[in-house]
Symmetry: C2
Subunit: 414 residues, 2 copies
């Protein structure tokens, strides 16, 4: 029996206990995890230091090392996230709808756990705790496969969580951390049909595409974000500048930041220089079409490549368009269907944009940076789904559940 199959068997064995655990038991387990994280903070920091030492020795960039780092603040942050999760409503047992049929059958459409969830992710070790806690609250079992650069941190966090879960009366195997981070193990995890009900990759576009191509278990794609702001002719200039600047520069590394700006030809002369001026404080590198180059000095020519790239950096591609139809066509061609925004004063164009643009979130006069479980008021999220099946947009507790119809009768037959 392979290592991953063992993981699968142990996960399935814990599934029933996790699914039928009461909200109280699940919340107690979560509280125990939060407490244990704080009690073991020195141990976590010292295990994390091993990963950081190895990363430094391997020449990992400073920004990546920062993503890998766990300090007291970040450990307290994980514990606080769990406290917030405890306060949230349990999605399990929620009745989505219910009715009585003419034959007297009562039918309740209720939420039940998905079962065993696999998460494949990269460097940030706090995902280990955040994802495990979300899965547990929704009555699921989780198999966590982090990156090998964070293996000491992840194994340590896994041990702490498993002990806390067992002390709270649930099987420790509700949370399993994959200790063998080889490529083969990862591939096996993607093909663990019968054991893994859904696999959620979190990380780079490369990682996500590899999972989509290779997995035979169901996958939820997350996080690819080639997002756009389109500034319509009637846009308020100040608002257009603020939204574009915020969507590009407030946190360029995340999926809901924009990569391209489209602007109507009638306002480009006025607004593009204002945006370029604002971008100076962040040294934003601008690629532009020919009409953009005629307005802004010292920028580079944008090609197909720039319009298709998710820079995740202080870089933007700009295109001047003739009208809203050209903007929508451009978005249809290049968008990853995550978050798209129009800045406009026209009611008709706002409605047209929201109707014709196909994306998880379509904004009128607000920054794309709001596509986020917390900003939507949904609490913590396990990712932003950019696919159409099951979940689209921020995935919180409800998106970690499936349906069970409960049907009660008194002898009905057909």
């Amino acid at each position: 029996m392979s290592y991953t199959e063992e993981l699968g068997i142990r996960a399935k064995a814990a599934e029933s206990a996790a699914a039928s655990a009461s909200t109280l038991v699940k919340n107690n387990a979560l509280a125990a995890i939060a407490k244990a994280l704080i009690a073991n903070k020195e141990l976590i920091i010292s295990e994390n230091q091993k990963d950081l030492d190895a990363a430094a020795a391997n020449g990992m960039s400073e920004s990546k090392q920062d993503r890998l780092r766990l300090n007291e603040d970040r450990i307290m942050g994980m514990a606080k996230g769990i406290d917030e999760l405890i306060a949230m409503n349990d999605p399990i047992g929620e009745v989505i709808e219910g009715f009585t049929r003419p034959n007297g059958l009562t039918i309740l459409k209720t939420r039940t756990p998905l079962g065993v969830i696999g998460i494949i992710y990269e460097s940030r070790p706090n995902v280990t705790v955040d994802a495990a806690a979300l899965c547990l609250k929704a009555g699921n079992v989780v198999i966590l496969k982090g990156g090998k650069e964070a293996i000491n941190s992840n194994v340590c966090l896994g041990k702490i969580m498993r002990e806390a879960i067992a002390n709270a009366g649930l099987p420790a195997d509700v949370v399993q951390v994959v200790e063998d981070t080889s490529r083969e193990t990862t591939t096996e995890l993607m093909k663990l049909n019968g054991y893994v009900d859904v696999l959620i990759p979190r990380g780079s576009a490369n990682l996500i595409q590899a999972v989509v191509r290779n997995a035979t278990v169901p996958v939820i794609e997350t996080g690819a974000g080639n997002c756009h702001v389109y500034i319509d002719a009637s846009a308020d200039p100040e608002m257009a500048v603020n939204i574009t600047d915020n969507a590009k520069t407030q946190r360029p590394s995340v999926c809901n930041a924009i990569e391209s700006l489209l602007i109507h030809k009638d306002c480009a002369d006025k607004i593009l220089p204002m945006i370029a001026e604002r971008f100076k404080s962040h040294n934003v590198k601008i690629y532009g079409c020919e009409r953009t180059m005629a307005i802004l000095d010292g920028i580079e020519k944008a090609t197909e490549d720039e319009y298709a790239t998710e820079f995740n950096d202080f870089i933007i591609a700009v295109k001047v368009v003739d009208d809203i139809d050209e903007a929508i066509a451009h978005i249809r061609k290049y968008s990853t269907r995550h978050s798209e925004c129009i800045v406009t004063s026209s009611l008709a164009n706002a409605a047209k944009f929201q109707k014709e643009v196909d994306a998880a979130a379509v904004y009128v006069n607000a920054s794309t940076r709001f596509t986020d479980g917390g900003e939507f008021g949904y609490g913590a999220e396990i990712g932003i789904s950019t696919q159409k099946l099951h979940a689209r947009g921020p995935m919180g507790l409800r998106e970690l559940t499936t349906i069970k119809y409960l049907i009660n009768g008194n002898g009905q037959i057909r």
Copy 2:
């Protein structure tokens, strides 16, 4: 460019028109299809006769030939199904929830079409019309790949529908029938990433498993049904017999019929002979465990195989169990998680069964045969999902949609 890629390109080109079509335009197209089916009934019947002649020449069984047959009644039935669909609410644009955030952003969670849906199915040509009509009503584009034994019927129905759709002002490519039924074309369709948003196989377990194994596009599994009735010690005997008989014999070929009966040891002596007596009119073949064999004469020994088999026939496997826990454990082991039933008078056992059994539909005191879009009041269905992602249970119009968040602000930034 391959034939399937051409299909994909044409489907994607029609996607936007289908998605943004008003309810009126879609209903007009549906009405035009219904009218055209009736107007062309002689043509349909003569093209169907070609398939029937080929089937007879190839020695197809009578029952399969019957599934393949289109006569005036069945054509009128397809048209009537479309009329019912016209009367149903359009799911597109439905606001699932909406709220205003503290920062003033209004967020609407709305339904939008999935996009391009591929359907792979077997002999019954009426699926061609039923599936196309459902997809169209929900604003989707559909690629229909039926069995080669029904190719003349399917191509004829496709032409009639496409002409009606074009006359109603939508692109004909909203509906495409795959005319090349080779295995390669089918395999290519399963890997048409970027063109097909979801693939729904309908038919035998073999077909569905082949699609799950080979597809790289998202798949919704439908229809595998190894369903059980468990008769608890406290069951009303007459009700237990009625439900078991109905669930097994009313239509044994369908997925919501039962394959196995579990019965508590304390009522087996009384109820099993009543069931065997009732089964006689249908000549139901019974396999049983040793305790069943001690009660009923002339039955065969049930092995693991019988408990694991979806007979789809007048055959049943019976097991006497010590208690509800043994029944639930058996169901957990063999169930395809479609529909499961307990017959009981015990409130505690009814609740326990509905909590601990994991299936799309869990019944107390009613036949499993009710797991059906029509019986649930949801109208026509494209299948019964037996997977956990996206949809579980009867899949109607709403299950052919995805989410679009519409967010309106007045300049909000983070």
